[in-house]
Amino acid sequence: MKCEELLAILNEYVDGEIDPGVCEEYREHLDNCDPCQVVVDNIRKTIELCRACEPFELRPAFKTKLDAALRERWRTRRDCRQR
């Protein structure tokens, strides 16, 4: 497997959706290619960082508005069902 071929199926490898036979070949390549190893590791960290990124806090005024709106909707639904 060449570096370019590895790059083309990087998603499947990182997402664990690669065919087992190809995966073996992929690992063999990584064992012998430092740059590809680092790129794969960088990609994993990029995804982890963006996904786990500290979520934004809600503005207190928005939190109050959100909770009030949902409570109101909850009550309306309950009243409708009781009718």
């Binding site: 990087l10 998603n11 290619c33 590809c36 790129v39 809600l58 709106a69 639904r77």
Partner: protein, 206 residues
């Protein structure tokens, strides 16, 4: 602490507090995804409220086949895309299949100085991530956000954006490579950089 599935059951049995706990658990992530998709504070808050209201209305449809978080992320993505469509901010759907031809080769290759957990403790990390996402074209940004931040499947992402699954895969790969390049230039250890020419790409290495 009860898991999300248990809280859904309790909410379906009429316990408002259980639903409010679900909102508390997920509100920041829902707002974060809406903000990143819409890049407008007021729109993101409206969409967050709409998403939770819709989740409440359809709670009995949550079957627990996916996580509650994933179910919510699909709802908020759908709501955010509706706003983008109204504003005509969605990129046009390509008629042809996109290909991996001309895939950009990684240039700045280096281990990161710190791992994601420790980077998250730094304030400037958020800014760097936002800047890297903002520099992506809308085509790539939305696919990356839905798939890698919202954790939607390829099929769901394709369905929501009106793309083929193949086009989603191609765009996702290009987005990941572009973000890796940008973030590695910021977080990579330049003293341990591996020169791009060493990454040849044509020689057999295994």
């Amino acid at each position: 602490m009860p898991d999300d599935g248990r809280l859904v059951e309790r909410a379906l049995h009429g316990e408002l507090e259980a639903f409010e706990e679900l909102v508390r658990r997920h509100e920041r992530q829902v707002l974060a995804l809406a903000r990143r998709m819409l890049r407008n504070e007021a729109d993101a808050e409206d969409v967050t409220q709409e998403a939770f209201a819709s989740a409440l209305d359809h709670l009995e449809k949550f079957r627990g086949e996916t996580s509650f978080r994933s179910w919510l992320m699909t709802i908020v993505s759908h709501a955010a895309l509706k706003v983008l469509r109204k504003k005509n901010s969605l990129p046009t759907v390509p008629l042809d299949e996109e290909s991996l031809d001309g895939l950009p080769r990684p240039e700045f290759i280096a281990d990161w100085r710190e791992g994601p957990t420790s980077l998250l403790e730094r304030k400037e990390t958020m800014r760097h991530i936002q800047e890297a996402l903002d520099e992506l074209s809308e085509n790539y940004r939305l696919v990356f956000l839905l798939r890698d931040v919202g954790e939607l499947s390829i099929r769901e992402t394709a369905g929501l954006l009106g793309l083929t699954e193949n086009n989603v895969k191609v765009r996702l790969l290009r987005a990941r490579l572009a973000l890796r390049e940008k973030l590695t230039r910021v977080f990579g250890d330049s003293t341990a950089r591996i020169a791009p020419h060493a990454h040849g790409g044509t020689e057999e290495t295994a």
